[in-house]
Symmetry: D2
Subunit: 339 residues, 4 copies
């Protein structure tokens, strides 16, 4: 079984079906088609407020294009060192923003804590034009270490941002896993908590290639669309991005998929712990960070289980990621193979 990442999974049946349907006929290009035109309405309903939705094919594009409208070329983006934008997107943020700088601050399990954030921002030396002033805070939900901010935690961060006049951006590559875990309304951890823009991930959770920029401040739309076009992220057959996205949020496919992945991860966690493993920290979503002794790690590998070491958390820590298509019966069957 492959727990290397959730992006090893294929697309889900609902999305294949929708794409197949949308493969039967012609339609206007660049977002003038009927499907694309439904996105704003569908997502406004989902979030319970007016939003603008700009789909792109990757999470890096969704994150960096969003930030390009939230921060000036002279400003800073506060984030955790583990943040995807800091660790996994090359120099994308500087590229899209025209030079903005990532200002990293620590926090447990890849989460920023509101009080520490407040102090961090207040403690930034202000030397006027010489220094880089924070203009935006970026958090990841669920985090890169598999933990989830509660609505209260996001709210507290939103309050800090308001206090200091900063924008709040959320990288939601695994937003569905967070909502499935929290069982909250999507509004509770986004616009109601002060989030200005969200990368609403779908690729890892059942799509082929689409993440959506969701703007709670719809005035940013025109600028975001310009940034999307000039960076080559406006698809001519835009309807296929929209089709994936619409299928993904129709009938709560996104929550179903994420709930399944979370459950699979929980089943795996139990199983591993029964065999002597321990979690490096709480697993809220579909990612586990687990302490394994070498014997157990070897046994797992020998039985065909794939996963990655995670040395930044310790020499014996490994990451397991479940996905929308992880077969839970097969997860349970690992038990026999390693007993």
């Amino acid at each position: 079984m492959n727990f290397a990442s959730d992006n090893v999974s294929p697309f889900c049946p609902e999305i294949l079906e929708a794409l197949t349907d949308e493969g039967k006929s012609n339609a206007p290009a660049y977002g003038s088609d009927d499907i694309s035109q439904q996105l704003d309405t569908a997502f406004s309903k989902l979030f319970g407020t007016d939003v603008a939705v700009i789909p792109v094919a990757t999470g890096t594009a969704a994150n960096c294009i969003s930030l390009s409208a939230l921060v000036s070329p002279y400003g800073g983006v506060v984030c955790h060192p583990e943040a995807h934008i800091n660790e996994d997107e090359s120099t994308g943020v500087a590229f899209f923003t025209g030079g903005a700088k990532l200002l990293t601050m620590e926090g447990p399990t890849a989460k920023l804590e509101a009080d520490a954030l407040d102090q961090f921002i207040a403690g930034q030396v202000n030397r006027g034009v010489h220094s880089v002033a924070p203009e935006c805070v970026a958090i990841t939900q669920a985090t890169e270490l598999g933990t989830v901010y509660t609505p209260d935690e996001v709210n507290a961060i939103g309050d800090v941002c308001k206090k200091h006049g900063l924008k709040l951006f959320m990288d939601g590559a695994r937003f569905a896993n967070a909502v499935a875990h929290l069982r909250c309304h999507p509004a509770d951890i986004t616009w109601k908590a002060g989030v200005d823009a969200l990368s609403f991930g779908a690729t890892k959770n059942g799509a082929m290639a689409v993440d959506a920029i969701v703007l709670f401040d719809t005035s940013l739309k025109a600028r975001i669309e310009q940034a999307r076009k000039r960076s080559g992220h406006l698809h001519s057959k835009h309807r296929y991005l929209a089709t994936q996205l619409l299928a993904y949020v129709t009938n709560d496919v996104w929550l179903k998929n994420a709930g399944h992945a979370n459950e699979a991860a929980a089943v795996l966690a139990d199983l591993l712990c029964q065999h002597g493993a321990s979690l490096a920290h709480r697993a809220d979503g579909n990612e586990l960070f687990v302490n394994l002794d070498l014997g157990l790690a070897d046994k797992l590998r020998a039985s065909g289980v794939q996963f990655h070491p995670w040395p930044s958390l310790g020499a014996h820590v490994y990451r397991f990621v479940a996905a929308w298509n992880t077969n839970i019966a097969q997860v349970r069957a690992i038990n026999e193979r390693i007993s």
Copy 2:
């Protein structure tokens, strides 16, 4: 019938089938999968030389990422004013290259002519660091006005580039239509003629969303891959870009689709000319630019034919674009509706 553009067409059956197959199982991310690993070999065979292939989802990305490796931030890219990079990609070239400038020169039917190009380059005032020196020539094959460079024409341009020490880039958004028209080997209008890098278009001609950067100078690969990642164009489920691309070149699907589109355009041209229209200029591929009197234009529209006016060529000039899925019997049937 919709002749607004070839990007109103859906994807073709071969690509749907390949995607559907590739939707059944897990596979490594970011290009480590089996399908992605086959691309270099497949395209090297297709072009008859060693090439490196980097798939991206859009033509703008393919063009601009390519140029970012061919020109410095201080240099110029010579192109026709009608070039897609000049007219339809916002400020993408400057963005990806870090500031390179488009230097436009005229030529009939959107084509650069080698002699004029030679003079244009020689005539650029060289004021050292003050002025912008041409570093690259970019041509489009087939052109934005539906014409096709012959192998001799590309060769002559390649020779001019060599003479002046410039790189040669080809925007091949409709490369297939050009090859189908010329019935030449793809090598004859690319590396053998001096082309350093090619945007090999697939989206308009039957794919969902994939164009390939084909590097004849494979030493550019590492830099192109960095530029792709940092601009958000590296897909996590990379196999779905590769799957489209591999299906597209397998069994000559690309040439079959393009040949069909070209033929449909020729049938339409004949039909329109029989009704008093005339071509604004020769139509080599799947795009027609046609002089229509108002009566005929109205009749066509009334019978459900969609197409765009093309005012840059004249007040009564219209563009019609056929695609891989244009129904030729239905094209012929237009005759009755407008007689």
Copy 3:
């Protein structure tokens, strides 16, 4: 005598004296000194309205930093092909603006004409995010070909900008020569005529190295100061930029210098015409573009007169530039040497 350019001249005595004085004591850095603090007031008085002044050491910096606050990375700057920003500043505009594109339009003697500008802007194809929309118009006063816009001409251009919602920028590398020629109030060709920002040149006209960004829209100040710092144009010993600038506008040194240069050019023009030369076009300021037969050109050179051919205006056209320090008696003495 050296008529190669006005930037071959040294600095003028008033500026040397001021610098020498300011070399006697310590003072706060980065613009907190007394001299720097006087600039806004001095220039507000000079222009008859509240302005913000940001000095930099070069005209390219003044132009490009100004434009970075007037145009987005996705927009276009309309200018004449002869404009310094188009011909002599490498890829500076794209660099500072993050990608904005120069949209060139012709006009006689390097001037944009309001009616033609109106048509040019109206005629720009608007394909939304695909195309580049004009956001700013840039004119040069005096122009690169030595002509000067009248207040009415600038006003008319200002009106066109307002009509289309564009910003108006003026490259005033030789602003003093224009004002000396027009004998108008500086306000008449700037803010009263719709100019948003001006590069107020001093270097060519008697300074060592300082041009000032003059903002009639003072709300741009903070952003301009950020752009200045991060591009390395904020001097630590800022007072020496300010000192040059203040000396330059004190006691109308700027107008005295420019008036002298204009007069010297006029004297030279008369002299050359008496010897059979003819002006390629009217000379309003300190630059002459002159048709010379080879005999006369050779005679001039033989007598130690330096000047440049200007092939873009014709095979026998040459440029002569007078400066604040051109010795008019020596100009007159050329007569004997070439008779």
Copy 4:
């Protein structure tokens, strides 16, 4: 007395004299003049090897333009958090390099230590195109905290760079103070120790506004000159940059000025320590970081001594900077005022 910074000092007499001389006549622009042409030779002699010298007006320009030729837009620059490029140059490095990222690592008194550097580089997670690979190391000599790298220390860092294939850049805003302290040959802490490019500061140490980019790898010259021009840092009256620089290195003015500043700082240090202060760390050059109790700080201020608190080193730490023009007798006289 003003110890706020060395950039509160004016220019030195030798430079005023040279500028005054160079103000008497015309000369070619943009570096074609006689003085500018002497720079490469003068600095090659100074460094004992062939170098290329490109003067600019500020340290930020010298640093950022240099780095733009040493690192790709996708790469990282390793530096100390206290580095001027990290703390005091806004987002300049990202701007000039097209996106390169600063990778900060700690070290005592603002110095990188070779062993720790080796481990830091080795420890950078290499995730290929996803992560940012170090391409260059940047050190400051003398450091922002007033300490100086010995030749052995620079050599050790140079060796680490060679081992990992990285470039080595030196910010020498106070290079003269370092050389004056070490009494070494300038070669010993630059090219012989592996430095590829140096910002050779003059502004703080007696110039009006000039720092030189000194390239030990002269193949970088053409690119650096393009970067200088397009960023607005090529002065038209280039000779005045060159004049300052040539006067600065003639007759060892640079070492005389720096030696004086270092001595003044040492005298001040002794005096303060006699009054109960203690150095926060060793003072190698012209900057002191001193622990003062409030009484002493108040007394000093009351007696007209200016200096800044330095909270990053502690609540009671203050910075004092001496300059080329600090009057040592007056420094000694402080004693009476605070006794």
